[in-house]
């Protein structure tokens, strides 16, 4: 399957003197984390299927610096940002799509005042546009009638007020969408944000991802849908902690759509 993936780089485009429709910002998790890499590939399959002219930066991409900024290291963040902006601007990038809401927020909101101004979309927004434009047709019935609950990533939802795009995409799978008690504006964080992903939690009664997973399990889902590689890890661990991994799957929306396309 993997040999079928077409993943051109910006350098390739440059060599041909062409400009892609979008730059796919893969992000560090999407590049290196084993679980997140599956999401990356699923999204690439969708892009290939929809004949989207896209490119990645490949080895020229570097961490956005988002996590350093949230940890308080503004210096490291801005070093990363300025370095990335130099490359993005050199390639005259206009439009960026990413599967990571943290990169999405950082590129969209925090890069502009440092000289990096791009149209930035989360992959659920872009997939939604592809479907609306008729570029991604023929979803099969893989998920018809399945119960899916969507976990809002903080940096897509509250941080950027995008609650509808992921839900609209999920609707297209003909699954039954159920909402957790805490959803949209009041969605509970998975526990990974603000650099928590990279450290042990402070002392407390329980882990945040377990509390969030309990909220998701209350809806009796077949699938917990996510739109963030970190949320995915946290919810997957939460489902394991609740010993429900044989009944409940945790999947990114890109994976759901790729599967429903038979990709």
């Amino acid at each position: 399957m993997s040999e079928l993936l077409k993943v051109p780089t910006m350098a390739d485009f440059m060599a041909e003197g062409k400009q892609p429709e979008i730059l796919f910002w893969v992000g560090s998790a999407g590049s290196f984390d084993d679980r997140a890499k599956k999401i990356t590939k699923a999204f690439v399959k969708i892009l290939n299927k929809a004949n989207v002219d896209f490119a990645v930066l490949g080895t020229e991409e570097s961490c956005t610096g988002d996590v350093a900024k949230r940890a308080g290291n503004e210096f490291l963040f801005q070093m990363q940002a300025v370095t990335n902006i130099e490359i993005l601007n050199a390639y005259e990038i206009n439009k960026i799509v990413t599967c990571d809401p943290h990169s999405f927020n950082c590129l969209k909101n925090e890069y502009p005042s440092l000289g990096g101004q791009y149209e930035v979309l989360h992959h659920t927004q872009f997939i939604n546009q592809l479907i609306a434009a008729g570029r991604l047709e023929g979803l099969n019935d893989t998920y018809k009638g399945k119960r899916i609950t969507f976990h809002d990533p903080c940096y897509l939802g509250r941080a950027n007020n995008e609650y509808d795009a992921p839900r609209e995409v999920l609707q297209k799978t003909k699954a039954t969408l159920t909402e957790m008690k805490r959803h949209k504006r009041t969605a509970l964080c998975c526990g990974a944000g603000g650099a928590q992903m990279f450290k042990e939690p402070e002392k407390g009664d329980m882990d945040i991802n377990v509390l969030r997973t309990e909220g998701a399990l209350e809806t009796n889902p077949d699938i917990i849908a996510t739109g963030c590689p970190y949320c995915n890890t946290m919810m997957t661990d939460g489902v394991k902690a609740k010993e429900k991994e044989s009944e409940v799957q945790v999947l990114d929306i890109a994976e759901l759509i790729a599967n429903a396309q038979g990709l």
């Binding site: 993997s2 993943v7 940890a71 300025v82 903080c154 950027n160 509970l188 964080c189 990279f198 402070e202």
Partner: protein, 437 residues
């Protein structure tokens, strides 16, 4: 002799308003201890936010029960205060119910009738608030930061309101002339019978007593505000006006850092060059915040605006899972420390004398700061646009950039980013390997 009540009233009014004005000055001075922040942009959006969020209570009603009760008390508070205007004029001129002589009786009756109904509704709402706090013991009112003064403060305010509403109704009920008009006494007519059998003279004394206690009570309450969490009834308006307009996920980029980074990236920059004339002033004393003076003035305004409702804390994932972090406590600590700094300045002839204390460590611990997931649930939950997250971030910046005091795992993560452009120790050259795996 006949002017004694008028003079007495004028003195009471002058003292009440004057003392409050003095505290407002102090309040403004303390807020101005914060760093500058330019908030002159997007005026129309800011006015709109104030109209919707503060005046229109749009975020209060997201929780329907407390929201509805709050709207009742809020509307009651504003409208009943029109009555205070009459009381002040009467008090100064020695008139009695001046409204009756300037307004048609039907209009006056309608106004007072409205006030009475509202007073009754406020009274009921305040009782329900008290029950929610003290009988049902709703969790957010019983968190660890809500002991002693904050807990009592919340109840005192409710008692105050109960007493003020009672006095207003009793004042009307014992005013025989007013009752005789039988216009506007929609509630008080049912209270009048409680005083049956009393002589006209006694009733007059009660009426005067209620009248005086009502206005003195209002002045005392006004002056109580500065010492209480209740300042929100005034500060919610400027606070929602100056609240954040950018997407919640957008954290500010520190300009001082930008300058340094630009310098480092500029191949023509001379690292040994003497700073340009006056450039010295542009370099901040420190990165991030360890004390209240390092925060910006909007953050300090936030702290005074917080009424400790705890909606933030009740949505905080860290707090919900038993961590020490409570966004409400961040705001309460900021205000307490700011008050302490203000008193220090008062005691030292307008100069702050180092007291060996600071917000970080003496009030807010590292453990609280590192428990935050930056999820913005607290910011979203606040009915008056307070941003506890911005304070947490500013203090993390101090910990990391000034003290290198991040948890070890985070230091490892940041070292990885510096070395290989990812938070994990993978080779940058392997960044595209996924496509062939």
């Amino acid at each position: 002799m006949e002017y004694i009540p008028n003079i007495l009233f004028a003195i009471v009014l002058f003292l009440g308003v004057g003392f409050f004005a003095k505290n407002v000055q102090k309040l403004i001075r303390n807020i101005k201890l914060g760093q500058d922040k330019d908030v002159s942009d997007n005026k129309s959006q800011r006015w709109k936010n104030m109209a919707m969020i503060a005046l229109g209570q749009s975020k209060m009603v997201r929780r329907p029960i407390s929201g509805f009760l709050h709207v009742v008390v809020y509307v009651g508070f504003i409208i009943i205060n029109i009555e205070v205007l009459e009381i002040i004029i009467d008090g100064l001129l020695g008139t009695h119910r001046i409204g009756l002589s300037v307004l048609p009786q039907s209009v006056y009756g309608f106004l007072i009738g409205t006030f009475e109904v509202l007073a009754c509704l406020v009274f009921i709402s305040v009782i329900i608030f008290w029950i929610r706090r003290n009988v049902i013991k709703i969790a957010r009112f019983w968190k660890s930061e809500m002991t002693s003064w904050p807990k009592n403060d919340g109840n005192y305010i409710l008692y105050f309101e109960m007493v003020l509403m009672t006095l207003f109704l009793v004042m009307n009920a014992t005013d025989l002339q007013f009752q005789a008009l039988n216009s506007g006494n929609v509630i008080s007519q049912f209270i009048t019978p409680w005083f049956s059998g009393m002589s006209e003279g006694t009733l007059h004394v009660i009426e005067r007593g209620a009248w005086w206690l009502h206005i003195v009570g209002i002045l005392v309450f006004l002056n109580y505000l500065y010492y209480s969490k209740h300042l929100h009834i005034l500060l919610a308006f400027p606070n929602t006006y100056y609240g954040k307009l950018q997407p919640k996920g957008q954290f500010n980029n520190l300009e001082a850092v930008t300058n340094e980074v630009k310098m480092m990236m500029d191949p023509n920059a001379d690292p040994f060059a003497a700073p340009a004339e006056g450039a010295e002033d542009d370099v901040p004393a420190k990165f991030g915040a360890s004390d209240v003076q390092d925060l910006n003035w909007v953050q300090l305004l936030n702290a005074y605006t917080c009424t400790e409702c705890g909606r933030c804390t009740s949505e905080c994932p860290a707090n919900l899972t038993g961590k020490k972090l409570s966004p409400r406590k961040i705001m309460m600590d900021t205000r307490d420390r700011l008050e302490e700094v203000g008193k220090n300045i008062d005691a030292n002839n307008g100069e702050f004398k180092d007291d060996g204390k600071q917000l970080l460590g003496d009030y807010i611990t590292n453990e609280e700061l590192w428990a935050c997931t930056t999820c913005n649930a607290c910011v979203e939950a606040c009915p008056v646009s307070i941003d506890p997250l911005s304070i947490i971030l500013e203090m993390r910046r101090y910990l990391v950039m000034e003290q290198s005091a991040a948890p070890v795992e985070l230091n490892n993560m940041m070292t990885n980013i510096e070395n290989n452009g990812a938070p994990w120790p993978y080779n940058q050259m392997d960044r595209l390997n996924w496509k062939d795996e």
